[in-house]
């Protein structure tokens, strides 16, 4: 948002500009700002027996004293942490490789790493079941060489983890590679000239410049994972379930919007720090 200041100083143009943006801004306010405010208000003011609403934290007390809700929150946190850990273990080396490697092989690796972006998660879920599910391709191959079948991760907490890692590889790699752009070849060569070994190079030159993009990946991924729906719903266990399917079931099947809003508020609270950090990072990049 740097250009534009030189134009449109004529009186009246300001009004036209405002008119042009008013529809999307109003739609956004009505469909994002208002639902969040109203949702949190409703969760904080449960309906009394006489039909009125009064300020109370009883919905939250109910959530945090219900073992099933807590188990769901626990499995969500577990899934987030395990998925995030696996993503970093896979994607940091991959991003380092893509930053420094050249040639056809590196192009191929990059194409493969970006490929999941173009596979809708519902197709991924189907492929997962056909490969790792009962009597899937892995079982077929093991059986063909006389080995026992695997204990399938389908419908266990590992199902969503594997699916979510797969799904999140492209954006994680993109963000990390983009962050590694601040490590110049010049800095690497200079360090190597004074005798830095690869590990020292990574530790002292590359890692300090990676922290910001790692933090962006962490917050972006946490926001996505905490409210993931499709993959946990299709691949995960029925109980305990992650917050996404839990909210959907509370809203759609149990027809209890107040409790669903309470669950939504809890997920928002858990993500508030990640959300603020992520938005700040995006705004700063755009402001450049």
């Amino acid at each position: 948002m740097t250009s534009g200041s030189e134009s449109g100083t004529k009186p009246g143009r300001g009004l036209i500009g405002l008119l042009l943006v008013i529809v999307p801004v109003a739609l956004f306010a009505w469909m994002t700002v208002w639902p969040i405010l109203s949702g949190i208000t409703r969760a904080l003011s449960p309906e009394q027996p006489d039909g009125t609403r009064a300020l109370s934290i009883s919905n939250f007390a109910e959530f945090f004293s219900d073992p099933y809700s807590l188990a769901n929150l626990g499995v969500t946190l577990w899934t987030c942490l395990v998925t995030l850990g696996l993503l970093l273990v896979i994607c940091v080396p991959l991003a380092l490789y893509l930053r420094f490697a050249q040639g056809k092989l590196a192009t191929y690796v990059q194409t493969m790493a970006m490929f999941p972006m173009f596979v809708p998660s519902i197709i991924l879920a189907f492929a997962f079941i056909r490969v790792l599910g009962p009597n899937g391709s892995v079982d077929l191959l093991l059986n063909a060489v006389g080995l026992p079948k695997i204990r399938s991760p389908y419908l266990t907490p590992w199902g969503p983890v594997i699916g979510l890692v797969w799904d999140n590889i492209p954006l994680t790699v993109l963000i990390l590679v983009s962050g590694l752009g601040s490590v110049t070849n010049y800095a690497i060569e200079a360090a190597r000239d004074v005798g830095a070994r690869p590990l020292a190079l990574f530790w002292y030159i590359i890692l300090p410049r990676m922290w910001t993009s790692v933090a962006v990946v962490v917050s972006f991924t946490m926001l996505g994972l905490f409210s993931a729906f499709t993959l946990p719903y299709v691949l995960g266990p029925a109980s305990p379930e992650m917050m996404g399917p839990f909210m959907q079931r509370t809203f759609g099947d149990l027809r209890d919007p107040d409790m669903a809003l309470t669950q939504a508020t809890v997920t928002m609270l858990f993500c508030v720090a990640f959300g603020l950090f992520y938005v700040r990072a995006v705004a700063r990049n755009r402001g450049k």
Partner: protein
């Protein structure tokens, strides 16, 4: 891992390792799905189908629920993208080129939605739609999917309008062209490739949007991804799901071909905070 960093000339073992691992993990599952869709008979424990053929393509394409879901998904995507373009592109032009009170605040306000876990936000919207009787209606799903396209359809075109060469516009104006003529003949042609990418991404993204359609549209509004979920959960014949997956994938492959340049450019990663 750190051994990969030196730029020495030698066999790129790390690259080979990554290439093989990613091929097995990413490409092979897709090939399995494609194989299933062409398997007339595939019983355990055979490693390959006993009989290949197009039997299940014919059977899937003869199902009326597939065609109605496909038609609904196309209609939804077209309506959402058209409305989104109609309201977002003028706004993008205003954000890029005009000066008005609150411009920066409003521009960055679209980011606020990204600070919340998406499904939590969807539940909050659904609670409001419940009061407005928009649950399980076509327009309810249109609205929720429309909101999902706003950020994309404003931010990408703003960058496109900002990248237009101002000197060419001024030259045209000096030559006597009116503002509308300048917009149609100079500004729009230069910005249109990027705007086209944004429109395509919004169409494809809406086509695959699952969570809003499932939460707001169920049970009446059955889009392709929603139908796919029910095939996974309730359909004992595996091949139906496999054929539907391959069909469902086609729009994404088209998007892959047309938007690869946008995705591979650094600005795309920066758009996600990278």
């Amino acid at each position: 891992m750190s051994k990969a960093l030196p730029l020495r000339r030698r066999t790129d073992w790390v690259g080979i390792l990554f290439a093989v691992a990613l091929t097995v993990v990413i490409l092979v599952p897709m090939l399995v799905v494609i194989t299933w869709s062409f398997a007339n008979v595939w019983r355990f424990p055979s490693v390959l189908p006993q009989q290949f053929g197009l039997k299940f393509w014919q059977m899937t394409l003869a199902r009326s629920d597939v065609w109605s879901a496909f038609g609904l998904s196309l209609t939804l995507s077209a309506v959402v993208t058209a409305i989104s373009a109609a309201i977002c592109l003028p706004a993008a032009y205003a954000f890029a080129r005009m000066e008005f009170p609150g411009r920066n605040v409003l521009f960055f306000s679209f980011l606020a939605g990204q600070a919340f876990p998406k499904f939590g936000l969807l539940v909050a919207i659904a609670a409001i739609f419940l009061q407005l009787n928009l649950i399980a209606t076509f327009w309810g799903v249109v609205l929720i999917q429309l909101v999902g396209t706003l950020l994309f359809m404003i931010w990408i075109p703003v960058a496109a309008f900002q990248a237009v060469d101002r000197r060419m516009e001024e030259a045209a104006r000096d030559a006597g062209a009116g503002p509308l003529r300048v917009f149609w003949s100079i500004t729009l042609p230069q910005a249109s490739p990027t705007i086209f990418s944004a429109i395509l991404l919004s169409f494809v993204g809406t086509f695959y949007e699952t969570e809003g359609a499932w939460l707001i549209g169920a049970p009446q509004i059955r889009t392709m991804p929603v139908l796919m979920i029910s095939f996974i959960n309730n359909q004992p014949v595996i091949q139906y799901g496999a054929v539907l997956s391959v069909l469902l994938w086609i729009p994404s492959l088209i998007a892959l071909v047309f938007t690869r340049r946008v995705v591979n450019s650094g600005s795309f990663a920066r758009g996600f905070g990278g």
